[in-house]
Symmetry: C2
Subunit: 201 residues, 2 copies
């Protein structure tokens, strides 16, 4: 039987502190068809973050140069720093049939949703604002002012959830990961990505 | 947290002999949110088929009366018999939040896909035409002429597969059921069916 699958552009988004990064790490461990698009950012690395693995860390000058070169699929300013998705991380891999995972903020995701015809968009929600605040505080990497800024932004971000195709609450990590895996499995069988012919024999 | 789910209209279709009935029986055993829409038909019951459970068996006169009353969501003639989906099996249940499963032929499914704005459509494919013929022959309930008629129709039906949202090959029953379950789980989180609010606490 002849089956072909096109690469899928998978946009995983939601407010800071909803656990997107952990969810994506679990997904990628279990599904080797997924490749991660490393975003560009001008923010400082958090402890444990590696340049080229978690982000392409860069200066504002370098970032502006890339913007001028039209090197980004989307770019946005979030919490006072710049972020962007590099074209070089996305299109050539989709053409090879790889499923490209974008971990991006809500502004960037809305840009991708508006501009890319074929994509799968998933919004990860915290079970409550109280839990979101606890998670941001628990990181221990943010100043109280940064936490307030993220909480204020989260209220706006949550109001954008219905622009996404799918919504998943991250109350229990394992259950949340299983649901996102079901979405990916479903989309692998979506007519948009999947061609199949039924042979005689 | 406040979550509400609308009922989902789940159209499962494909050529005769692809195993739709078995797949649906497995789905319904495992997921109590699913209810089965019992189709009307003028064909004779096969051994083991129960009126009101597998089909509403009826005369051509009764069927025509229901057509005249606009009692069907869709109706079509297939392999020389009449089939239809009764409105009474569908809409009131969707309003109650139940997920209604339609096991219908490709003509009927194309009518539902064209007329219903919100639905989830899944096409079940045989791994090959040879396997399809073996399954139809293995039933032991069809005359050689009926098998030829179904095989000829299958070629046209398979050409309609890209009108469906999802395509799943029934090569291995367990794997096929797991994929359809993933599609249902994904769609339960689709913005079309799922509302959620994130509370303060």
């Amino acid at each position: 039987m002849s089956e072909t699958r096109k690469g899928m552009l998978l946009v995983i988004s939601g407010p800071s502190g909803t656990g997107k990064g952990t969810i994506i790490a679990e997904l990628m461990k279990a599904d080797k068809s997924l490749v991660f698009s490393v975003s560009a950012t001008t923010r400082q690395p958090r402890p444990g973050e590696v340049d080229g693995v978690h982000y392409h860390f860069m200066t504002v000058e370098k970032y502006n140069e890339l913007v001028a070169q039209d090197a980004f699929v989307e770019h946005a300013q979030v919490h006072g720093n710049y972020y962007g998705t590099l074209r070089s991380e996305v299109y050539s891999r989709l053409e090879k049939g790889e499923n490209v995972v974008l971990d991006i903020d809500v502004q960037g995701a809305l840009n991708v949703i508006a501009s890319e015809k074929e994509k799968v968009s998933i919004f990860i929600l915290p079970p409550s604002l109280k839990v979101l605040r606890e998670r941001l505080t628990g990181r221990g990497t943010e100043t109280p002012e940064a936490i307030e800024r993220r909480m204020n932004n989260a209220v706006w971000e949550l109001s954008q959830k219905d622009h996404y195709e799918y919504k998943v609450i991250n109350d229990d990590l394992d259950a949340c990961v299983r649901t996102v895996q079901a979405i990916i499995e479903a989309e692998k069988h979506s007519a948009a990505y999947y061609s199949v012919d039924v042979p005689q024999e």
